[in-house]
Amino acid sequence: MTIKVQKEDVDIGALITAAKKHGTGAVVVFDGIVRDDDITEMELEAYEDVAVAEMEKIAAEATRLHNLLHVDIIHRIGRLSVGENILIIVVSAGHRPEAYAGSRYIIEEIKKSVPIWKKELTKDGGRWVPGEHGHGAGKPLKK
């Protein structure tokens, strides 16, 4: 299991090979990519220690809920060009429903609670991407 926040890209093919634990029947990979929304580049920033700890919690919970056999989460930071990988999630499971559900669980939870921010750099300056979840980060606000 590799859970990392890093500048460097990763070799997804190698991650898939390493994810084939005994009993694996399905691997699902999610690769989030810098989309060309009229931007020049994207700048990513993380509260690193907390982001990694939060992703480790999410990976453990996904494993428990969806019987995953292996999880990798690599979230990149720094300056990325259009088309570059931002986030790579690799999960393996015995069967496909678990692999899809586990992968989807992880990306949705990351969007909610992992302290990482993205700034889209444009010709005219930049804009911070608003979070999808108003209260994201760590445990949710008690109401």
């Binding site: 931002i86 990351i110 609670s113 921010w117 993205k118 979070g131 606000l141 008690k142």
Partner: protein, 92 residues
């Protein structure tokens, strides 16, 4: 005592980050952050509302653990603490 205050994303751009503060005994998180933000109106206004309360969407952590906003006024900082203040997350 020494406490490190970290701002992220837009708050970092406005206020800087990794600020080493030397608050007196009994200082609450909200007081400490307000003192630091005070020097830059735009940064202060991004984080605090007109009543001087944390804006509803602001996230506060103490040593990597979330502190609910209603508790930030009563939670007293200790020597070596790391306080983080940031806008809603947008990773992935």
């Amino acid at each position: 005592m020494t406490v490190k205050v970290r701002f992220f994303a837009r708050f970092r751009e406005l206020l800087g980050t990794d600020i080493l503060a030397e608050p007196g005994t009994g200082t609450a998180i909200s007081t400490l952050v307000k003192d630091i933000a005070q020097h830059k109106k735009e940064g202060y206004d991004a984080i605090f509302d007109d009543n001087g309360a944390f804006r509803e969407f602001v996230i506060v952590m103490r040593n990597g653990k979330r502190v609910e906003i209603p508790d930030a006024g009563k939670t007293v900082v200790a020597d070596g603490d790391e306080i983080a203040v940031f806008p809603p997350v947008a990773g992935g």
